[in-house]
Amino acid sequence: MKILTDTGLLFKRKMLETLRNPIYIIISLSTPVVYLVLFAPLLNKLVGVKGFTQGQVLNVFIPGLLVIIAFLGGLFVGFTMIDEVKNGVLERMRVTPTSRFALLAGRVLRDLVNVTVVVVIFALIAIPFGFHLEFFGFMVLLLLLAMMLITTSSFGNAMGVILGDEDRYAPIVQGINLPVILLSGMLLPMALAPFWLQVIAHFNPAYYCVVAGRLLAVGRIWEPQVLYAFLFMVPLTVITVAWATRTFRRAVS
């Protein structure tokens, strides 16, 4: 099974990069920690406000942050990909009989490990601050976050191959990043939003994940909102991976 061997080899190669330079994990943790320390306290005054009815403010806020960690974690790997395109690494591998799918899958798997580690560490950090976490719900949430990461990491890697230039990818990241975060209801619940904004939010995959994430963190696995999130994420993941694989196959870089 060349496809599996190659995926394993390329995963190992990227994983070794992380292990040699674990600073990545720390940098990825810094943003959510800053939010936790400098932004979360502002929310305390909002207890009882619409959308915060679950009582615990952190249980509204932290699941949203976890979704954003997964979302951004994948989006930013596009820049590493561009680096490898520029250094000719991708081209060198494309001239070998390496499985094209493995070229993508090896990277995405490494990103998945990285982000899962960051998510678990951050969730643990948040517990002493008052974040309530229920084990099985959290496991289901990790599954949802994995799909989010696989989607954005495949997208980021494929865009890196297509564009091959940081200056062209940066505006795309910027253009996606902000609306997705704002419309996910991560900072403030979308329940506070006017109707038109709520309608737009329903086209945002991150919104479904954030809503489901809040339920899952407290162990409410069998809610319709959790099902909606999976119904949204499964096809999105499949479509993005298929598109990214195709891009890697015919790579024009």
Binding site: L16, K86, N87, R92, V95
Partner: protein, 325 residues
Amino acid sequence: MPEEPVVLTQGLKKYYPSRKGEVKAVDGVDLAVRPGEIFGFLGPNGAGKTTTLRVLTTLIPPDDGKAVVAGFDVAKEPGMVRRNIGYVGQNGGSDRPATGRENLVLQGRLYGISPAEAQERAKELINLLDLTEFADRIVHTYSGGQRRRLDVAIGLVNRPRVLFLDEPTTGLDPQNRVNLWTQIEKLRSEGATIFLTTHYLDEADALCDRIAIMDRGKIVSEGSPESLKREVARDCITIGVADWKDNVPRLLEALDERGLALEVTREEERLRLCVKSFAIALPQLMRLLEDLGIALETVELSEANLDDVFLKQTGYSLRDLTPEG
């Protein structure tokens, strides 16, 4: 028995769409590279050398014509072509955050070699290309020359029948260039055929058994460096004279009148005369200078070089071109 060419192209074409219509990057290239030779593709940037190489290495499909590499058609059996070639792109391709040895082992594994064999092969290549000193350091820390040698080693992992090198010495200082030439020469012992592109005349001259000169998507001339130079068949005399400013106009006029040189070019404070042969032209030139009463300060004789070949075939000199990157 004549040996089968390892690289054979017939009417190879590759077009790119652009705003002004199609750009004919490769416009009908016919090539035959024999096993064991070092074949050079010489031409300015934008001549289509790299595009041709990318077609031959299966990175892009041809639009028309045929290319057979190591016995397999690049369009029909790219997988088999890949198994039998090595490729070192302009940017190298070594993985920067890994060590040289890790790069070599991974490359072997990607070709389906067992871990033990891949280690063994990495060792061989580290010896062959003198990488021992830095093989276990992270590639980030390498100098340009060291990285280039690693890149070439990576290209050799699968014992390719043809090794393609795209501008192997671009960006290297003169010392490292000569060093890399020596390493490439050594690769003959590995039995590989080497196909390289370059825009350096001295490189093509020093390294290649055969050269194809490419310009605007077409091959304009082909042969050994010696035969190409013979084709131009001219010698050059470069002279410097006393009282340069006053004497040069008179001298140029007289040269023109007597039809002594095929071509005259001014190079700073010197004149370069291209002539059919030294033997006839030199005495004539001496007499001319005496008649005009001009004192000769320096004289230098040089045989035709590849730039003259290039000039003759394309109408412009490689030296006049500034690399556009």
